[in-house]
Each structure stands twice: as structure tokens, then as C-alpha cells.
């Protein structure tokens, strides 16, 4: 994982990547975004989601498009 990512976000970025790899597999991009955003909303605290949204630019290179779109959807 890139060292450019703030240390406090690294774990959350990794968890989000894992969710995309598991929930997104075999799905269309649209379905994957829906599934990932639903999962985040259901199981993640708002502060965790907000911290990623706030640093979107810094973490964009480390996350797949599905993850970023899911974060956007939750804005």
C-alpha cells in the first residue's frame, strides 16, 4: 500500500479493498457499487466512511473504481 496514504486510513482502505474484492467479484460494476455501498452503510460507522470520503484524493490510487463510486454514493 502506498506510503502516501495517511497512516490512520490504511486499515480502512485495506478493509474497503477487501470488501470490493469479495462483494464485487462476478458482478457488474453497477451491482458491485450497490452491494459495496449497502454493506458499508449497514456495517461501518459513519466516521469511518467520512474519513475515507474526506481523503478521497489521497486514497484514490489505492482503491478500485467500485470502492470510490461506493463512497461517492454514500456522500
Amino acid at each position: 500500500m502506498s506510503s502516501a496514504i495517511p497512516a490512520e486510513l490504511k486499515h480502512n482502505v485495506k478493509m474497503l479493498s477487501d470488501i470490493v474484492r469479495n462483494l464485487g467479484a462476478g458482478k457488474s460494476q453497477e451491482s458491485a457499487v450497490a452491494a459495496v455501498s449497502t454493506h458499508l452503510k449497514k456495517f461501518w460507522s459513519p466516521s469511518m466512511i467520512e474519513s475515507l470520503q474526506k481523503h478521497r484524493a489521497e486514497i484514490a490510487d489505492e482503491l478500485p473504481a467500485v470502492a470510490l463510486q461506493a463512497l461517492d454514493k454514500l456522500e
Partner: protein, 958 residues
């Protein structure tokens, strides 16, 4: 006429205090006979002895007891039966229609007296000083048959000088008192299934022997206590009875160790606990026990126990002993101050699966209503949270589907990532019983666990799945079922969601899920997997049991769903002998989850965003509640390190030892301004605490635990809390001090509130539990006596949802730098972090954690058995002693985490299950090397622990 075959009556008023001599027989065919002039009707197959006892005519016996099959050796139970020659043994003679039996006659009395005389002629006459005086069946029977004299004298050859074996820390074996009734041998065979005991020699030389004539401690004996329980004399007796004397009163309660949830009679003399005796009426254990529940209770009185509240401003300071009021005020002031400075979300709470339902319910209520956030989580996060997610998604309920008893109807049993004989020993014995009766076994596990091959047990298939590849494995099993046309299409059509079935079928048939394709991933040969899958698919009843070897992976939730898929696809759901069975690690994992300990759910697994549910709780609790999830345990630690999470109330949990990536956890704990630990001992977490609230043991409080079969069992107060308060009272006091009043007078009132607010618990109350003994939820108007088997007709979500379970390889994989995979587990004698069992004699069996290494891997590194080895991962390094064994496959090493100095979790990483954050304890890439000194972390740990012990000592000595 007396009719004793009324199932309803049997359920209402089972007579667990009576020994009927032979086991209960289940049969729809009834037989009527006459015993001593009284007509009685019993199920066909019942012994004359049992029928007579039911009718109130107890027949003298020595070798018979109703937990064991009839043996017919002691000749004490002879009777007269019209039309039968001689005097048959009533224990081995089944009833028949019209039979006329006499249990008493002059001739029978003479015969029994003569037999007893022979026994007594080779038995010490030391009744007055014998530890079993007053609790000895031989003594009782001598009285019953009217023995007044022994004509043979005691000068002849006898066994009276036989040497006593005192090797076991918990019981003694005195062969001079043995009557060779074989009850101990049969108990070891039939109940425990270890077959450690035998009758050695013949005739007069016959004697009970452990192993190959070894001491008990050196034999295969696992100290379950079944032999002690079965012994009719003082031959096998608890050392505690020898030391203290016979108990005088007893209270039925529930063991606080593993998720089996065994019922015990706590037997006391005054306020002193003499022994824990497995309770025959226990729905889960039916009178059996293991070495932990039966014997390992001395931690309750260990000198390390802290019984006065402690406070300090910094972890570098000495503790100060204070009274309860000061401690609670200190804690509440700190928490309120933190919230004032950092916001409402800056504090949270952690409940424990070691605590009762009522206690966990109160903690989550305190956090949600008193702290004003949903920052509450439970240690189930780090064990079975994937079970909750996976089973809720597929079957609609976050729970196992069966009773333990159900395994007796299974034809094929798959045990995956579980080690029942070590971690769930009483269920392990039940499982072995079924296997000895002919059921077939498939073991899917990286290690050759005991079930793979042990006396009279041999798995048909041991599928040594490579750590981290469970999903590929379970998909391949399902692929074969489809390919071999072994699916239950009728079940899927009737019970499962059509669209989910279609999607699953389309997915699972793909070539990449075939055993030939997955062989390279899992390490399981395709041919072996195909054979196992066929065995599973062709079984009339196939059941799956799984444990942390399934859940504690980056794809733990996916594997749980894959297991549910297998059960749904083969129609193995909704009846006895089948099902999906998570074996829960701790005593109340199921209950702590049921009680709303997760940050996204209220009690009963209802999401916090559900308006109707939230309004229900708001109405009952009188506060507004948040509608979004709070922080999970690992998120709390991250937030603490990041400086946004500052205060934590932790009840009965030791995450500094049990959670992964110890260094990260320690950093998080050091970052907090107020850590409140409520526990029995100054555990690893408490060493970082600012407030220590002394908790109560399970013997010191009332409450309930819910075991792995959803069975709610009563925990009954046996003695007063050593600290003066039960745990629920402490939480209540903290809540009041935080400004959210709670006014419960007894845990039963908490359960009443749970029942009022939770649809699956509406029929549960202490009165109902006392009446029924235990209740398996759901218990409501639809299921007033509870629900032993779930999903018989319909799933809570209507139709079962089959899940597409894509295999996604873990990022934690062997590399050149870290070429081996570490996996972790448990051992029989120790429990979880060992805080309790390390403070008992159980340490004699497992005084340190060791590292199991395959001979090939050891040889490559020049490591010999017993060497100190450094174990290094990308997270950290520790040092353990090596044990070379072929039980582990090449490329994999294994250890346990029962001793804090081991630092097993210094090695494990922050990888976790994608859905639930359950840590990936079971897969860590590591390297080994021979070393001669402790790791840096271990040296630091030693220094820190000594420092903290000194801070405590100062407080205690003033």
C-alpha cells in the same frame, strides 16, 4: 395401573435424582408387566431393573447405573420371573408383555447377601474414615441386603494393600477399594470415548488399569471425570472430597467454559465449593463433563483474584484501592470528561462472551442509552462474527440449526476447521459415540486432529485443506455434488429462493470450482475430495460442524455461506441428524450476539437503522437512539491510535492477549485516557487500565448463558460475590453515575425486559427456565417450549438464500521471506486466554504454548524437538519451544495462545474477514529459526508485567 410412558409427563417432571440402573429406551411400542404385584407399562426394550425402579421397587445393584449400558456382572440385581429358570439379572433382562416379576423374596435376599459378603471380604472396612462415607453404593447395598457378618475373614489373599495412585491432580485411584464392577471402564468407553481404562488380568488378578498399567497422569486419560462419577465406591474419588469432606447441599448451574454449556451440580459444604458434578438433567451434556468444567474451578479462590476496586490516573502509577462508590464516581467522571472534550463518540464499551446474557444486555444498553452511541462490540467479533453474518444472509438467523443430540441421527458428519475433542470436549464425546455406532466422518482441517484417527474412530477422509483456502474447498465440494447429480432439487424448489439457486448453480458449475482446478489451491487431491463429496451427497442425513478454522479467515463469512449452500443444496436442513452447526468457542458467544452486542444491531439481530425496532427500544429505554452503526473492536483500536477514541469500558474480556497484532492493540490501549476493566484478575488488558472493577465468577451470580445450540441455561448464584457486587450491579452503578438510571433488583428483571423487547425471547423467563430446565430459542407463542431444530418448515427470511461464494485468495500468503503458514488453535486443558485455567492444576497438562513443526520443515532449519525457535511474521516476532510432529502438514506450523508470554498474537496480523473484521488468526506467513533468547517483545512484556504487578502489590500492601 402405573403408566410411565407419557412423554409429556417425562418432559414436565424428569427425575434426574434417581438412578434407574439402565438407560432410558425410546420406543413407540409399549409393554405391560407386573412387578411385585403392580402392573406397569413401559417402552419395549426397557430393562426389568428400570421398570422396577420406575414403579418404585428399587432393586439392589452395583455394576448398573443409568448412564451406562447394562453389564450384568455384579449379580446383585437378580430377580425372579415367572416362567424363567434361575434368577436372571434384572439389568440385562428386557421386559416382555405379561411378564410377572418379583424383586423381593427370601431366596433373593440370601443370594444377594452372599454376593455382597464376597465383595466385602476383599474390601477395607474403613467406612468411618473413608472419603466416600455416606456416598458409597457398596455401603448402601450392604445395608440394603442386610449384611451383618463376613464369614470368610480377611486373612486370605486379597487386594487390600494395593497402592493408591495419586498422580492426577484432581482425583485419586485406590485399587484396594475397587470391586471391579467395570463402571469406570465402561464410562471411559461409552460416555467419554477415550478408552483409556481397561480391566487387566483375569479372575482374582482382574484390576482396573489406566493405559498400559500406567499412572492415570501418564495414561491416555483426559480427566473428564466420567470414571469418578461412575465409581460406586471410593476407588475413584475427588481429592477435594478427600480434603474437605462430603458436600451437604447442591445448586444446579451452568459451566462458564466452552460453548457446549454443560449443566453442573455445584456441591458445597457450607459456603465452600467441594466439587462440580455433571448434571444428568443438563440438556447439552446429559451428565457428562470435561476436565475444565468438572475440576478447574479453583481459580475462583486464587490469591491473584482482585476483590477491591482500583483506580489510578496513569498506567505508570501505583493502583489505589478504593470503595465502590469512589471507583464508580472516578470512572463516570473520567468518561463524562472525555465526552465533553472529544465528543459523544469518543467512548465505547466491549461486552464479553464469558459474561451472562443479562450482563451483556446491560452493557450494550449502557453504551447505547447511557453513553449515547452505538460504539459497543463483543469479543465474538474475533471468533464467530462471520457465523452471524453468513447464517443470517443464507438461512435468515444468526445461529446454528440443531441440538447436540441431533448428531446421534447423522449418517455422515463433516467436521471443518474445528477440533471438538479439544475445544468442545463433551460434544466431542457425543460425536465419537455416533461415529462408533457407524456414522461416517469427513474431517477438513490442516491438522490431523484427534478425530482423524483415535481408538475405534477413523475418518473416511481427512482433507488437509491449506490454510486460507476454505472457500475454494467448499466450492469444490458443491461442484462435485452438482456434477454427480447429488443435489436435492425438490428441497431447493420448495425452500430456496429461485433466483439465488439459479445464480449459485451457474456459478458453482464453472470449471474453476472443480476439484481438479482447486487441487493446486487447497492442496486437497481431487480424487479424495470427490470421494468425500459423494459420501456427503449420498447420505440420508449429513451434518456439518465447524469452528474457528472456518470463521477466522479473510473469507470466514464466505465459507460460512458456502457451508450453508452445501446444506441447502442437499436438503440437509430442518430435521434431526443434519444441519449447520457452528461450535462456539466460549460459554456465551451465542448469547452475547443475541443480546445486541454488535454495533449495528439491537438485541435479536435487528439493525439499528430499522425505525420500528429503534422506536421500540426508545420507548422502553426512554432515550433517543442512534440509527447508524458504531465502531467495531478493531475500529475502536484504530480510532484510539488516531486520537479520536479515548475511553473504553471493557467487561470480562482480555483483548490485549486475545486480539491480533498485539503491538497495535497495546498502542491503542496506551492512547486511551480512561480504560475501565471489569474482570477477576489483573489480566493483560487490565495492565493498561485506569479503573479496575472486580468482577464476579459464574459461581457468584445469577443469570443465563446461551450455548451453541441456542440453549438458554440458568446460571445460579452458589456463593456471594467476593467483591460484594455481581457484574450486572457494577454496570448498573456505572450507568447511574453516568446519568442514565437503571433500577433492576435481580437479573430476572433484566431477562423480563429482554423478553419484552425481543421476539425470539418472548416466552423466556426465569420461572419458565426453572420449569423446563433450559430453553432453545426462539421461544414465543409459536414455540412455547422453545425450538430444538430450526427451519423445519420455513426460514425466518421465507426462502433460503443460496450465496455465490467467489474464492478470493488471502493477501497473507507464503513468500520467500516468510515461507511457512502459522495457524493457531486451542488445547483441552486450557481455556481461551487461560486467565482461569492457568490458575488451576490444569497447568500440569499445558504449562506453556509450543510450536508444532513438521519434521521436514524442522530438518531444513536444523530444529530439534524442544529447541527454542524464533517465530517471525511481518507483524512481529516471538519465541517458543518447538515440538516436531507429523500432525501438521509440511509448510504449516501451529501454536496455541493460552499463555500471555507466548505472544502468539504478536505474530498475527491485522488481516480480517472482509464482511465482519473477524481477524485472520488462522493464516499468518512466518519464518522460523533456532534461537537462544526471548524476543524483544517478550523481554518488554516481562518488564512491563513486573512493573504492573508491582503497582498492584503496592496498592494491596498499602
Amino acid at each position: 395401573m402405573l403408566n410411565f410412558y407419557d412423554p409429556a409427563e417425562q418432559q414436565e417432571a424428569p427425575r434426574w435424582d434417581i438412578d434407574f440402573g439402565t438407560p432410558r429406551v425410546a420406543s413407540d411400542t409399549l409393554v405391560s408387566l407386573t412387578i411385585d404385584g403392580t402392573e406397569i407399562t413401559v417402552p419395549q426394550g426397557t430393562s426389568v431393573m428400570r421398570a422396577a425402579t420406575q414403579a418404585g421397587f428399587a432393586i439392589p445393584k452395583l455394576c448398573a447405573t443409568d448412564s451406562l449400558q447394562a453389564f450384568g456382572s455384579c449379580r446383585m440385581c437378580v430377580v425372579e420371573i415367572d416362567g424363567m429358570k434361575g434368577k436372571p439379572a434384572s439389568c440385562t433382562t428386557p421386559v416382555s408383555d405379561g411378564m410377572v416379576v418379583r424383586t423381593q423374596s427370601e431366596s433373593l435376599q440370601r443370594l444377594r447377601r452372599n454376593v455382597m459378603e464376597l465383595y466385602i471380604s476383599d474390601h477395607p472396612l474403613d467406612c468411618l474414615t473413608c472419603a466416600a462415607n455416606g456416598d458409597c453404593e457398596l455401603q448402601d447395598m450392604a445395608g440394603v441386603v442386610g449384611l451383618r457378618d463376613v464369614r470368610y475373614g480377611f486373612e486370605g489373599e486379597n487386594h487390600l494393600q494395593a497402592e493408591k495412585d495419586q498422580s492426577n491432580p484432581y482425583f485419586t485411584f485406590d485399587p484396594s477399594k475397587c470391586i471391579v464392577c467395570s463402571r469406570c471402564v465402561r464410562a471411559c468407553d461409552e460416555i467419554q470415548g477415550t478408552l483409556a481404562l481397561t480391566i487387566d488380568g483375569r479372575g482374582f488378578e482382574s484390576k482396573v488399569a489406566a493405559g498400559q498399567n500406567a499412572d492415570f497422569m501418564d495414561s491416555e486419560c483426559v480427566s473428564c471425570g466420567a470414571c469418578v462419577q461412575a465409581c460406586p465406591t471410593a476407588t475413584l474419588i475427588e481429592k477435594s472430597v478427600e480434603n474437605i469432606g462430603q458436600p451437604k447441599r447442591s445448586i444446579v448451574t451452568t459451566c462458564a467454559y466452552c460453548g457446549v454449556g454443560c449443566s453442573f451440580k455445584a456441591e458445597l459444604r457450607g459456603d465452600q465449593l467441594v466439587r462440580m458434578v455433571p448434571y444428568k438433567g443438563g440438556g447439552a451434556n446429559k451428565g457428562h463433563s470435561c476436565v475444565k468444567g468438572r475440576f478447574a474451578f479453583s481459580y475462583a479462590n486464587h490469591p491473584d483474584r482482585i476483590t477491591r476496586p482500583l483506580v489510578r490516573d496513569s498506567i505508570d502509577e501505583d493502583w489505589r484501592e478504593v470503595d465502590w462508590d469512589e471507583a464508580i464516581a472516578f470512572a463516570a467522571t473520567k468518561l463524562k470528561d472525555i465526552q465533553a472534550r472529544y465528543g459523544v463518540q469518543s467512548i465505547g464499551g466491549i461486552t464479553s462472551s464469558r459474561c451472562s446474557n443479562e450482563e451483556t444486555y446491560l452493557v450494550q444498553k449502557l453504551v447505547r442509552a447511557g453513553f449515547g452511541s452505538n460504539n459497543v462490540d463483543t469479543c465474538a467479533r474475533v471468533c464467530h462474527s462471520p457465523t452471524g453474518f453468513g447464517l443470517k444472509t443464507t438461512l435468515g438467523e444468526s445461529a446454528g440449526t440443531q441440538t447436540f443430540e441431533s448428531v446421534q441421527k447423522a449418517d455422515v458428519i463433516m467436521v471443518m476447521g474445528a477440533n471438538p475433542t479439544q475445544a468442545h470436549p463433551v460434544f466431542g464425546s457425543q460425536l465419537k459415540k455416533r461415529l462408533r455406532a457407524g456414522a461416517k466422518l469427513i474431517v477438513a482441517d490442516p491438522r490431523a486432529i484427534e478425530l482423524v484417527e483415535s481408538p475405534h474412530i477413523r475418518a473416511e477422509h481427512h482433507l488437509a485443506v491449506r490454510p486460507g483456502t476454505n472457500v475454494a474447498f467448499i466450492n469444490a465440494m458443491a461442484h462435485v455434488l452438482v456434477r454427480e447429480k447429488l443435489l436435492d432439487h425438490a428441497f431447493m424448489e420448495q425452500r430456496c429462493d429461485d433466483a439465488s439457486v439459479a445464480a449459485w448453480l451457474e456459478f458453482i458449475q464453472q470449471e474453476r470450482n472443480s476439484p481438479e482446478a482447486t487441487e493446486k489451491i487447497t492442496g486437497v487431491p481431487a480424487a479424495e475430495l470427490i470421494a468425500a463429496a459423494k459420501l456427503f451427497g449420498k447420505a440420508a442425513n449429513a451434518a456439518i460442524y465447524y469452528g474457528l478454522g472456518v470463521t477466522e479467515h479473510s473469507q470466514g463469512s464466505t465459507t460460512v455461506m458456502g457451508i450453508a449452500n452445501l446444506a441447502l443444496a442437499t436438503g440437509n436442513i430442518g430435521r434431526e441428524g443434519v444441519g449447520v452447526n457452528p461450535l462456539r468457542g466460549q460459554n456465551n458467544v451465542q448469547g452475547s450476539c443475541d443480546m445486541g452486542s454488535f454495533p449495528h444491531e439491537f438485541p435479536g439481530y435487528r439493525h439499528v437503522s430499522d425505525d420500528a425496532t429503534r422506536e421500540l427500544f426508545q420507548g422502553a429505554w426512554g432515550v433517543e437512539l442512534h440509527n447508524q452503526p458504531g465502531l467495531r473492536i478493531p475500529n475502536m483500536f484504530d480510532a484510539a491510535v488516531n486520537g479520536t477514541f479515548k475511553g473504553l469500558y471493557c467487561q470480562g474480556e482480555d483483548f490485549a492477549q486475545s486480539d491480533p497484532n498485539t503491538q497495535h492493540v497495546e498502542n491503542a490501549l496506551r492512547s486511551m485516557e480512561c480504560l475501565i476493566v471489569q474482570d477477576l484478575f489483573l489480566n493483560e488488558t487490565a495492565k493498561f487500565a485506569h479503573v479496575f472493577l472486580p468482577g464476579a465468577t459464574f459461581l457468584e451470580k445469577d443469570g443465563t448463558f446461551t450455548n451453541a445450540e441456542r440453549r438458554i441455561n440458568r446460571v445460579r448464584k452458589v456463593m456471594s460475590p467476593a467483591s460484594g457486587k455481581a457484574d450486572w450491579e457494577i454496570t448498573q452503578a456505572l450507568s447511574c453515575a453516568m446519568g442514565y438510571p437503571m433500577n433492576y433488583g435481580h437479573p430476572s428483571e433484566i431477562m423480563d425486559e429482554i423478553a419484552q423487547l425481543t421476539p425470539t425471547f418472548t416466552g423466556v423467563s426465569y420461572a419458565r427456565l426453572d420449569e423446563l430446565g433450559s430453553i432453545q430459542w426462539p421461544c414465543n407463542s409459536d414455540h412455547p417450549r422453545g425450538t430444538p431444530i430450526m427451519h423445519e418448515q420455513v426460514f425466518p427470511i421465507g426462502r433460503g438464500q443460496m450465496a455465490v461464494t467467489e474464492y478470493v485468495a488471502t493477501e497473507e500468503r507464503a513468500t520467500r521471506k516468510f515461507p511457512l503458514l502459522l495457524t493457531t488453535g486451542r488445547i483441552l486443558s486450557q481455556y481461551n486466554v487461560g486467565a482461569q485455567t492457568r490458575r488451576t492444576e490444569n497447568n500440569r497438562w499445558h504449562a506453556e504454548d509450543v510450536l508444532e513443526v513438521h519434521p521436514h520443515d524442522a530438518e531444513e532449519r536444523g530444529i530439534n524437538d524442544g529447541d527454542w525457535v524464533g517465530l517471525r511474521s511481518r507483524a512481529g516476532e516471538t519465541v517458543l519451544r518447538a515440538v516436531i510432529t507429523e500432525a501438521i502438514q509440511p509448510g504449516v506450523v501451529y501454536t496455541t495462545f493460552h499463555h500471555p508470554v507466548t505472544g502468539a498474537n504478536v505474530i498475527t496480523t491485522d488481516n480480517s474477514d472482509w464482511a465482519t473484521n473477524c481477524p485472520e488468526y488462522k493464516v499468518t506467513a512466518v519464518q522460523l529459526e533456532k534461537v537462544s533468547s526471548p524476543s524483544q517483545w517478550q523481554a518488554q512484556y516481562q518488564r512491563f508485567s513486573e512493573q504492573q504487578d508491582e503497582h498492584l502489590r503496592t496498592a494491596r500492601t498499602g
